[in-house]
Symmetry: C2
Subunit: 145 residues, 2 copies
């Protein structure tokens, strides 16, 4: 997350969106303002509520479609609740980095003291009391290459 002021970030995002050929509509601006200014991970429904609270007239569908654009441009990233699950695989998330092949679904769980130590240190540095980890990387496995 960069350290620019909210307004500068908003302008940067709008500029990037226009550069990519998107039209700067009021709905889009509203979503950008909400997400760019927030220091919180927001659900689409929360974005909708905040945008509407800020006077904007906007629909659910547009929120989803706009968030998609922001992700596409890498201005925004998605956060995954540890409790939310799409797939299940043997292993204990608290002590492993999971390497997953998005093509075939194969997964390898990797134990790495160094990695865990590093992650713990980062959390401590920022004053967070660590609860859960979600360390997963996605790559094409040897067989699918």
């Amino acid at each position: 997350m960069d350290e620019s002021t909210p307004q500068i970030r908003i302008d940067t995002w709008l500029h990037a969106l226009r550069e990519s050929g998107y039209r700067l509509t009021p709905s889009l601006r509203a979503v950008v303002a909400v997400v760019a200014e927030s220091h919180h991970a927001l659900t689409p429904m929360q974005v909708l509520a905040l945008a509407q609270a800020g006077d904007a007239e906007i629909s659910r569908a547009t929120v989803y479609r706009t968030l998609e654009k922001l992700v596409e441009l890498r201005l925004v990233q998605t956060v995954h609740d540890a409790s939310d699950c799409l797939r299940y695989v043997a292993g204990d998330a608290d002590h492993q980095l999971l390497v997953i092949c998005p093509q075939c679904g194969r997964s390898d769980a990797v134990q790495s003291e160094r990695l865990m130590g590093l992650v713990n240190a980062i959390a401590a540095d920022h004053g967070y009391r660590l609860k859960d980890r979600l360390l997963q990387i996605f790559g094409i496995c040897p067989e699918c290459q």
Copy 2:
């Protein structure tokens, strides 16, 4: 992921489940067999299909309920597709570790060359061609403590 044989892992899991007071029903055994033997991240529906293919008579609801138990006992962990999203937050997932407070939703994006280097090295060691990263840790933030 431990290196034991499938059968031993199945027995270990069943033992742990019984220890926790769960009854070892045919449906539960079927789910355990499928997930413990697989080296793939499976969706609940895939688990269902595989269990049914293996002769078991089992319903969707039971698959969900059984997977919950396995996660609770930390025998299984959930995998999150990079494309699936619950919340959105400013930042670029490819270069950051996200620290999130599950209580208030606050998030801090951390850049760490060492962490990224370590992750890249691990992927390479295992023969994976890295595509996406999902490095997120959850901890109570200073203000919520």
